[in-house]
Symmetry: D2
Subunit: 126 residues, 4 copies
């Protein structure tokens, strides 16, 4: 994907210009990404779900920055591991469709949790 | 960005087909995203940095799936908050370039940590 | 603290018996702890705040397990870094009392977020 | 456990004095806890495992504060859900001993990862 590849190249240059590539092992990048994901959670931790649907301009601006930070580290990791994000996403959407067939899981709130749970038990982590 | 917008539409349909949109408040989506970010960390938690650079095919496959999960929730959140991810990323890269001028931060490992820390103190969280 | 020290000793033996201490660098332990903290978040991600106040026995059992996992890794890290958790907690409660004087922050919901935010700006991360 | 119960009471008063209890649903507390766990990860993200074993006084001080924050939110959650942390930890240590019998898992690094993975597949998330 052109635009994403452009950004990945931009981010590699950004790191090289600062001699920061040495810190960008996949292990470290996964940590940095999770830290940004939590800074995103922090924007919402004391808000109700309803309030989270109605952010003020300042709140939305902060949320956007954290979302961008997550995206940036995800793209750095994709560069390091040679992962095509769009391909990976499409493959995962297919897997999810098989795991959660619409006709089986549609319905009450309860089923979503239940399906999440039984699927977690089947997930291969290797 | 065409491909990203396509995926966002696909993900919205996926949620609608299963009547899951009701759970997708920004607050909840931020939680789900952080959970996937941690499943990505989990792939690396007992590996050395060197091992993280040399993943087996099974390890890489698991990592790809978690990266895709993070990307998927990020795009769901972007849909809900009407955020253009590429725009947000470009704005953040600009901010980062100002915060970490290459000529100032290039050099020893120590400076990276030090700059991370003084920048954290200046970050506006609102 | 007797009981906590007993548990810390138990956990050290558990790791030694399995030759797992080699993986327990503070860096790795922080990762493992954050993973468990996210497994705790996962228990709540699709629940409303009200539902989270009324967990079923199975839900509560799962939550207890994740809380225990977080406590376990926190105690492992405390062992490795020679940190007295009760001392650290008491010091932090004092710091928090100074940062959030009751007479200043008591009142509307809005103030909590605002105080969280201005305090984040002052926090020294080093 | 006397000292822990004392701290839990102290933390409840702290929240009541500031009228903050309204924000302390278990859902929200799990989010706040995970945010602090990530602030702990952040202390280590650019350090090598070896560096994480040799923290400077300032680094150790920052780490202690984040560890305390995690402990504080864990105790708030324990109060809200009426969970006895020492009991929960002891039960989990027993479960772990059954899941990872020392004679089976002791040995090479590889086994630790492998056992982590097969155990994840068996874990009931409900």
């Amino acid at each position: 994907m052109d635009k994403l590849e452009q950004i990945k190249a931009q981010l590699q240059k950004f790191a090289d210009d600062r001699d920061w590539d040495q810190f960008h092992s996949p292990k470290n990048l996964s940590m940095a990404l999770s830290v940004e994901a939590s800074e995103l959670v922090e924007c919402f931790q004391w808000l109700t779900e309803a309030q989270s649907q109605n952010l003020s301009p300042e709140q939305l601006s902060a949320v956007k920055d954290e979302m961008a930070d997550v995206q940036i580290y995800l793209l750095r990791l994709a560069t390091k591991l040679n992962v095509n994000m769009l391909e990976a996403v499409n493959q995962k959407i297919e897997k999810n469709a098989l795991k959660y067939p619409a006709d089986k899981v549609k319905g009450s709130a309860k089923k979503y949790n239940w399906y999440e749970q039984i699927s977690e038990q089947d997930d291969s982590k290797s």
